[in-house]
């Protein structure tokens, strides 16, 4: 029904919405006297708070987004926003600056805290070590690094802990506590623990998603058992005892990146059971983990398998060529029939259908895309093939260099990319990438019809060509996409081997 905005206003500035982390700000006069139309019915039945739709009055508001504020270099410049502005109502907004800039300062909060509590931060009792596999911040507390009680101002320690934690507790986090090394000398007093407990309010507890106690002693377990009636079931579920360091690997952590104190490692070695039984179990564990995360690798690939294997495997079973059937078929089909399909490589496709065709290829069956008649299926399949390679086509080795390319001056970007691709990339990777990039440049040549310019293709194809061994993050997306765009745009200059 009437969704007529009574006083639609067009914002004064024209913002480019395609930038990453584009923090926009609007003074849009939003006067939408709407009435629940036909489509609004479903929600009426449970809206008891009175859905009288009122005239929505507009107010000019200045806002700064805090979402994913880890992208300060992409923020629109403050100067643009700083000036007073006249809104459609003639309201003049004078002190914008107040609300600006908080994300930028946030980045350095930890530095500030560290400077303020220098003597404590250098002990490394508490370390924030980045994200785990689920994107949660990991915070490590090492008891063995606590100095003897008389040498430490516990009040300041508590403040330091609170200041450090408070930056992260707004989102989910994981606490890893290395208990080994706590002794009667460096043990904080019970009163301090009680105080600490009372200072951590609900927000600290709510977003704590897992609490791993490494090398728990019998005392801890006994205490926990004693207090169990008073502890919420929810908290009990978050608590995990980790008896051996190797067991940490099953906890969604990037085990290799954890700064585990040397003393804890030594202790761990000393308590490992002598029998090979345990070791065998552990190694089995870690191996299965390698497969379970990141890439879904095929454990024992059949000769025909093309998804989730290495280029070497493909080459070996494909008569010495890395251009395997799935790449050849999809590109041939797309090139012949689909260059004018709008949103090629952008649109998604039914997951079930993709898996179905994947399995067919892995069994070595022939797939005729003309029969299937779905350009997006072929496009998604090609991207999936690249993304499921054991190693990204641009290799882990060149990952850093690819990211750095983004920061180079415009003039040298192409020559840098040329040396990376045509000189440093292994032959097999070069052959396949060359094959794919040439096709992508053809797609871009038809962008008037398919709307997929090199820029667009870079965005949707980049993540399939290169990824890091670590957790994916949005900050590297732009460099990756720009590099891919470069490969497509300057195909003739970059692929010269």
């Amino acid at each position: 029904m009437a969704s007529g905005p009574a006083a639609q206003s067009v914002p004064a500035e024209d913002n480019d919405g395609s930038e990453i982390g584009d923090d926009c700000e609007f003074d849009g006069a939003e006067a939408a006297g709407q009435e629940g139309g036909d489509f609004a019915e479903p929600e009426l039945e449970f809206d008891e708070s009175g859905l009288e739709l009122t005239e929505n009055e507009a107010i000019p508001v200045e806002d700064q987004l805090y979402f994913m504020a880890n992208n300060p270099e992409d923020d629109p410049s403050d100067e643009n926003l700083g000036a007073g502005r006249i809104t459609p109502e003639g309201y003049i907004d004078e002190d914008f600056e107040d609300t600006l800039g908080s994300p930028a300062t946030e980045v350095n909060t930890q530095d500030l805290v560290d400077t303020e509590f220098k003597e404590i931060s250098r002990l490394g009792i508490i370390q924030v070590v980045g994200d785990d596999r689920l994107g949660r911040k990991v915070i490590i507390f090492s008891a063995c690094r606590l100095p003897p009680a008389e040498n430490l101002d516990h009040q300041r320690l508590l403040k330091y802990i609170i200041n450090t934690l408070s930056q992260y507790v707004e989102n989910d986090y994981v606490l890893v506590y290395f208990h080994h090394g706590l002794n009667s000398k460096n043990k904080p007093s019970f009163a301090w623990l009680k105080q600490a407990y009372s200072e951590f309010d609900r927000k600290y507890k709510k977003n704590l998603k897992a609490f791993l106690i490494v090398h728990p002693t019998k005392l801890i377990k006994a205490l926990y058992f004693l207090f169990k009636p008073f502890i919420s079931v929810k908290f009990g579920r978050k608590l995990t005892y980790v008896n051996y360091l190797a067991d940490l690997k099953s906890q969604n952590l990037y085990f290799d990146q954890l700064p585990i104190p040397q003393r804890v490692r030594e202790y761990d070695d000393s308590i490992q059971p002598a029998s090979g039984n345990r070791a065998a179990l552990t190694s089995q564990y870690s191996r299965s983990e390698d497969f379970a995360y990141g890439q879904q690798l095929v454990a024992n690939p059949l000769p025909a398998t093309q998804f989730g294997v290495s280029l070497q495997h493909i080459k070996h079973y494909n008569g010495g060529s890395v251009i395997c059937p799935v790449v050849e078929h999809t590109i041939k089909y797309l090139r012949e029939c689909c260059l004018d399909v709008e949103g090629l490589f952008r649109r998604s496709c039914s997951v079930a259908q993709v898996q179905d065709v994947q399995e067919k290829y892995n069994r070595g069956e022939y797939v005729d895309f003309r029969d299937l008649g779905n350009p997006h299926l072929a496009a998604v399949l090609l991207k999936t093939f690249l993304r499921e390679l054991a190693e990204p086509l641009l290799t882990f080795e060149l990952y850093e260099a690819v990211i750095e390319n983004h920061a180079l001056p415009a003039k040298t970007k192409v020559s840098h990319a040329r040396s990376l691709i045509s000189q440093q990339l292994p032959d097999d990777n070069y052959d396949l990438l060359n094959y794919v990039a040439q096709f992508l440049s053809e797609v871009a040549d038809n962008s008037t019809r398919n709307k997929m310019t090199a820029l667009n293709l870079g965005i949707v194809f980049g993540p399939s060509l290169i990824w890091s061994r670590q957790q994916a993050s949005l900050t590297v997306m732009k460099p990756i996409n720009c590099f891919t765009q470069l490969l497509i745009l300057h195909y003739n200059h970059i692929f010269v081997r």
């Binding site: 969704s3 905005p5 067009v10 914002p11 913002n15 919405g17 395609s18 990453i20 982390g21 584009d22 923090d23 926009c24 849009g28 939003e30 939408a32 709407q34 629940g36 139309g37 489509f39 609004a40 479903p42 929600e43 708070s49 009288e52 739709l53 009122t54 929505n56 009055e57 107010i59 508001v61 200045e62 806002d63 700064q64 987004l65 979402f67 994913m68 609300t99 689920l134 994107g135 949660r136 600490a196 407990y197 801890i220 205490l223 207090f227 502890i231 949103g343 952008r346 649109r347 998604s348 496709c349 039914s350 991207k383 709307k451 820029l455 667009n456 965005i459 949707v460 957790q471 997306m477």
Partner: protein
């Protein structure tokens, strides 16, 4: 209104999700800037904010517009963690996008570890009546299935191009969130005793 009001209101984090090319950005931009953009750039991630009065109550919306392509799914859970309310968009002209709606909603429940959460499902591009392949009843059915256990879920048909229901879909999402906070939210906010361990 005085600015102190706008500052004192806590922003609501809305995350817009959906399959690639269904019009998430068009919807978000139409709502926040009152413009229909013809650009065809795939989004990686954009964020916008906007304040408005909904049912006489001030609301500050922080809207996160996300990527629909499956390449970016690794990041999906990350931003889902941040969202307080979700707008799941599909295009009534695109079967694939519709098929993904259910799994996206399931993912929200999983990431949020809740059985109910404020979710608006938007069937976009209804101005393209001739290309339509998803019936209104089909989408209603899907949402009704979810409503059995999630009362904070609703369906609206929109057109970012003609601005049909664009405001309504965001406003109703805020209403759902308010309801959720008033009722379901209070349930989970029950004080839970925690241990010093």
């Amino acid at each position: 209104m005085s600015k102190s009001v706008s500052k004192s209101v806590k922003p609501i984090k809305i995350v817009v999700i959906g399959s690639g090319g269904v019009g998430k950005s068009a919807l978000t931009l139409q709502f926040s800037k009152s413009k229909f953009f013809l650009d065809y750039d795939p989004t990686i991630e954009d964020s916008f904010s906007k304040s408005c009065y909904i049912d006489n109550e001030m609301a500050r919306l922080d809207i996160l517009d996300t990527a629909g392509q499956e390449e970016f799914t690794s990041m999906r859970e990350q931003y889902m963690r941040l969202g307080q309310a979700f707008l799941v968009v599909f295009s009534v002209t695109d079967r694939k996008g519709f098929e993904e709606v259910d799994s996206l909603i399931q993912l929200i429940y999983r990431v949020k570890d809740r059985e109910a959460f404020p979710i608006m499902v938007a069937g976009n591009k209804i101005d393209l009546q001739n290309d339509r392949c998803i019936d209104q009843s089909l989408a209603q059915e899907l949402v009704q299935r979810h409503q059995e256990f999630n009362p904070y879920c609703a369906y609206i048909e929109t057109s970012a191009k003609t601005r049909l229901n664009v405001d309504l879909v965001f406003h109703d999402l805020v209403r759902l969130l308010r309801l959720y906070n008033a009722k379901g939210g209070s349930k989970q906010a029950k004080k839970s005793k925690c241990s010093l361990l």
